[in-house]
Amino acid sequence: MGDVSIFLQHLTNGISLGSLYALIAIGYTMVYGILRLINFAHGDIFMLGVYLTYYGVTYTSLPWWLVFILAPLLTGFIGILLERVAYKPLRGSARITILISAIGASFLLQNLGIVIFGGRPRAFPVPQMLNRVIRLGGVSINIVTFIIPAVTILLLLGLNYFTTKTKTGLAMRALSKDYETASLMGIDINRIISITFFMGSFLAAIGGILWGSRYPQLMPLMGSMPGLKSFIAAVVGGIGNISGAVMGGFILGLGEIMLVAFLPRLSGYRDAFAFVLLIIILLVKPSGLMGDKVTEKV
């Protein structure tokens, strides 16, 4: 057991946690890019994704891989529904109003979770295939730790193709660049916004499934912390910027794991790390590491 192998173990843990943050952060950043709205309920959409998967695997006879695809799709539609109910009636009103509605929506989903799923924690049914421990040079690592980054990279490649090569992706980027002008160019705003919410929620649900396979304890409030932290990841990378969100996710994930690994005395402050990072970034470079510089126009 050399120091190197322990370091590698922390590194893989950090990368897999970072991938999870990245997957959730993309939803925040995409929605913010277009609507300039912090979708506070995004973390709870993530929670819904995990629970839908749990119910799908436990209570239906569908094979687990099918559930792993169906549940995120369903979560995507819930995302669209959320936008229709809580955000669409407020489009064009003051930002603070929509933000309050977002907080309310988050609250609603959490408490609906408590009512419907019950407050007791449940165990996520991790498929046997994903739940194997392999030994690599003296350290034992769960195979999920490798699957998470792999899935994330695949999804990111897909997302990249979508935003750069397809017409819808182009419309999405146009909207985030200049909402007003883009809407004059015949882009169906409602459709694009729905697609954005669908994709964000879909990715969050996938992140949720991977999260559940890694940390198999389900609670209705499980979404709020990862949600907040992923939002911070999006801000750190420069909100509105997809690659920035991914980078922010990795910085946050690695930073958290390394903090606990190398400064065990500070492990109680693990949850504060993200917020300290956020405040430093906001003070030093408010537009985020990869964000465009915002100039104030009078």
Partner: protein, 338 residues
């Protein structure tokens, strides 16, 4: 003439409040008196948040953190020495606080000042951020304060919390503070500072062009808001007798936000009424969580249902308000599309 009738109305309200509290203390049971206490505390909280969010137009979500600072200040300062020894069995309390036992009024003032101090320390760097970012940064600070309090074993007793804080809070304290807050904020808003706050809310750039110092006024409004949040936190500690870091979660901030939204951004009277309605309503909705016996049929209580209703009200309130059913702030341009 108009001034005079206003003074009369104020006096009448004052007398009615005092009379109401006197009667309540005399004839109501402990549970109802407690709700009255809570209402008073929430009036203070709602107003302090409205000062920051409604009147100065900043979007702060840090209230729970500042309440925590106030609550712990009062808890530590007022707790008898022997009680402190019992509480801090994991690790002894830091020596300079071990033998302190203050009265309630100085402790409350200290709570407010501590919260305001932290407010200035935190506010000075982050208040230049705009709405969304400010919201997240203040939320982050509240969360950091909570994590800090969970870990500073010798100062706050960590996750175990403080037990046996003397129950100094009664209706006179809670409503006395609430009335002082109402008076102070009305007084503040009438003067130059209030005008400057409103100017910042309406248009920061224009306000700056007219020579209003953004930094000074934002920090000032934030500090006043934090002061009252701290005092209210202290009252809460004196009312409950037991506090722990997990009480001061984001949920608490959202409760206050609901009061502000229902009462109207920038409205003092509305906030007072909303605070009372929300506090009483939250208690009244408790039946949703408990089992009901309708004689012929028994309904099993669903834990969490109360909060579902609560959040639906929050969303509905925002949407309905936006659609114009409720009154908008007088002479405000905040709701113009931007």
């Amino acid at each position: 003439m108009r001034e005079k009738s206003k003074t009369q109305i104020t006096l009448i309200i004052l007398v009615l409040t005092v009379l109401g509290l006197f009667l309540a203390n005399r004839y109501l049971d402990a549970y109802k008196v407690r709700i009255i206490n809570l209402s008073g505390i929430y009036v203070t909280l709602g107003l302090s948040m409205n000062l920051i969010n409604g009147m100065t137009g900043m979007f702060s979500l840090g209230h729970a953190g500042f309440m925590a600072i106030g609550a712990y200040t009062v808890g530590i300062l007022t707790m008898p020495v022997s009680m402190k020894e019992m509480n801090f069995f994991m690790q002894p309390i830091v020596p300079f606080l071990a033998n302190v036992e203050w009265g309630f009024l100085p402790a409350l003032l200290a709570a407010g000042l501590m919260a305001a101090l932290f407010g200035v320390l935190i506010g000075a760097p982050v208040l230049r951020l705009t709405d969304d970012y400010l919201a997240i940064a203040t939320l982050g600070f509240a969360e950091i304060i909570r994590v800090l309090f969970t870990n500073t074993q010798s100062l706050t007793n960590g996750a175990l919390g403080l037990k046996g804080i003397p129950n100094y809070t009664n209706t006179w304290w809670s409503w006395g503070v609430a009335l002082v807050t109402v008076w102070f904020i009305s007084f503040l808003m009438k003067g130059t500072y209030g005008k400057a706050f409103l100017a910042i809310r309406e248009d920061e750039v224009a306000a700056r062009a007219m020579g209003v110092s953004l930094f000074k006024h934002k920090v000032m409004s934030f500090a006043f808001g934090c002061f009252f949040a701290g005092v209210a936190g202290g009252l809460m500690a004196g009312l409950l007798g037991t506090i722990d870091p997990n009480m001061f979660r984001i949920t608490l901030t959202f409760n206050i936000l609901l009061i502000v939204v229902l009462g109207g951004l920038g409205k003092i009277g509305g906030t007072v009424i909303a605070a009372i309605i929300v506090t009483v309503g939250m208690e009244a909705l408790r039946f949703l969580d408990e089992a009901m016996d309708l004689g012929f049929v028994q309904i099993k209580g669903i834990p969490g249902m109360r909060m579902v209703v609560f959040s639906i009200i929050l969303i509905a309130a925002v949407i309905v308000r936006e659609k114009g059913l409720l009154r908008r702030p007088k002479g405000s341009f905040t709701y113009v599309k931007n």
